[in-house]
């Protein structure tokens, strides 16, 4: 195994200056004749943590799959760090740390072997590889399970293994599908601190169907339902509106969703 990686595959240090992290423009996606995502547009800039909120089946995962290059949009355009997901999927994947829906992992692999695989396949080698693996193991608190097989790990550990594998190469654009799924409340709080510690220069987009988590972790919220983007609002703004109406943030978001449902 060569000890040095070719320069193009080393860890991306960041995004080109001025480029939006994630740019979604008028994106639509059909599954057969079913409309899963309907004309959605938004951006996630470097330094931003954006929470993607919606009930199961709202189109969250489909959108994240399109950003990850797994699915092509039926219409519209998605760019990650100014690379088009359809035309330059490899360039996009190099910038991206992606946790897919359901956090599917190679069950029979040992945790240490899996993380090393995830790092090497992104081109990490030598001392840099060791440093990044150490970082991933420490920051996701995986030291105890390193010698275990993944199927022997608890749900909370598995979730952190998935997140560690998604972030081991220090990607400038992070897309996590339900990263808090299976975490207990204490772990959710720890995850919040962890993600907020990462934000410097990175564009972070994560999905959840738990409103309180999204409000706690992100500074901007995208609300999606039946494939349509209902709101793209700063959390502060929601809190201000909630304060004015004498309600809590949950009620305000619920109001947005029901208003859209009635429209």
């Amino acid at each position: 195994m060569p000890s040095a990686a070719p320069p193009s595959r080393t860890t991306p240090s960041g995004l080109p200056a001025g480029s939006p992290g994630i740019s979604v423009e008028g994106v639509t996606r059909f599954y057969g004749s079913t409309l899963a995502v309907d004309g959605v547009s938004f951006q996630v800039r470097p330094g931003e943590i954006v929470g993607f909120l919606g009930p199961n089946g709202a189109g969250k995962s489909t959108l994240l799959k399109m950003i990850s290059t797994w699915l092509p949009p039926s219409a519209g355009r998605i760019a990650v760090g100014s690379h088009d997901v359809v035309e330059e999927p490899l360039a996009v994947r190099r910038l991206l740390g992606y946790l897919p829906e359901h956090n599917s992992l190679y069950e029979v692999m040992r945790v240490d072997a899996f993380l090393e695989f995830a790092a090497r396949i992104r081109g990490l080698r030598g001392a840099h590889l060791r440093d990044r693996l150490d970082w991933a193991v420490e920051s996701c608190a995986l030291r105890e399970v390193m010698a275990k097989r993944i199927h022997e790990c608890s749900k909370g550990y598995r979730q952190r293994i998935g997140v560690a594998a998604a972030l081991v190469h220090d990607p400038p654009v992070i897309v996590l599908d339900e990263p808090t799924h299976g975490l207990d409340p204490v772990q959710v709080v720890a995850f919040r601190g962890f993600i907020q510690g990462l934000r410097e220069g990175k564009a972070i987009l994560f999905s959840s169907h738990v409103l309180s988590e999204v409000v706690a972790i992100s500074e901007r919220i995208l609300v999606i339902q039946k494939g349509r983007l209902l709101a793209d609002t700063r959390v502060e703004e929601l809190q201000r509106r909630a304060g004015e109406a004498g309600k809590d943030v949950e009620a305000v978001v619920l109001g947005i969703v029901t208003a859209a449902g009635n429209a």
Binding site: S8, W70, L90, Y98, L105, A113, A118, G123
Partner: protein
């Protein structure tokens, strides 16, 4: 629209090698490698020894003659998991959103299955040693037989990977790739050719299949010690087509 999802040479090789290593580890971690190798070696060697005691000649033709049907069962069992398992456990989305193309993933998995098959074949080497101890076999003939066996296996593994990529279930992948392998073998069987020709004598479909599709005329040439360019092209070409179609399926079949 151009789709830039092919890595450069060095990177592609490194990625394919990583994937191959992971797959080989998976074969051993799940004990598939041990069980299949022991099963294959015991079956293949005991079938040969039976023939050997009957004929008493120091050559391996009997071993290679029995090999295709055995491979038509064992190799689909090796390849069935390669993509069907990734799809079932949804790890395929993780794998193919790493910065690699489907080509590297296909190449890595193909190499892993080929290596496991080479291990199967290596299990028959004691026969070679025994023949050299007991008599004076034709070494060139044996080497040519092994070359044919490797190429036939390479073809079955490539087609098995294709059917595994089409399936979501390993059993379906096993049955379809085994049927395909049997079709490649039996279409070259004299009796099958005769029966098919008899169905439509003016066209002789059996002969057409035997001469165009079947792997057997090419494999038999190797076993008889004749290595011909058309046979190399046949095995190389069909394997490449199956691998290419596998990558095609992986690009299209996404949910």
């Amino acid at each position: 629209m151009t789709r830039k999802d092919a890595l450069g040479g060095g990177e592609a090789l490194a990625a394919a090698r990583l994937i191959a290593r992971r797959e080989i580890a998976a074969y051993f971690d799940s004990n598939i490698a041990y069980v299949y190798t022991v099963g294959f070696v015991v079956l293949a060697n005991s079938i040969f020894m039976n023939d050997f005691f009957l004929t008493g000649t120091a050559d391996m033709t009997a071993f290679f003659d029995r090999l295709p049907l055995l491979l038509a069962i064992f190799l689909p069992a090796v390849t069935m998991r390669l993509w069907a398992e990734e799809k079932k456990h949804r790890t395929i989305e993780l794998l193919l959103t790493f910065p690699i193309g489907p080509r590297e993933a296909v190449a890595g998995k193909y190499a892993a299955a080929l290596l496991l098959y080479a291990l199967f074949l290596a299990g028959s080497l004691p026969i070679v040693v025994m023949l050299f101890v007991l008599g004076r076999p034709d070494g060139g003939l044996i080497a040519s037989g092994y070359a044919g066996a490797l190429l036939l296996g390479a073809q079955f593994i490539a087609s098995g990977m294709f059917f595994s990529a089409l399936a979501r279930d390993q059993i379906v992948a096993f049955v379809t790739s085994s049927l395909a392998a049997f079709a490649l073998v039996l279409s070259g069987n004299d009796r099958v050719v005769e029966v098919l020709d008899g169905l439509w004598p003016s066209v002789a479909p059996g002969t057409i299949l035997d001469e165009s599709v079947s792997a057997m005329p090419h494999f038999d040439a190797f076993v008889r010690g004749s290595i011909q360019l058309p046979s190399l092209v046949y095995f190389g070409g069909t394997s490449a087509v199956f691998l290419w179609m596998t990558a095609l399926v992986l690009r299209q079949d996404r949910t």
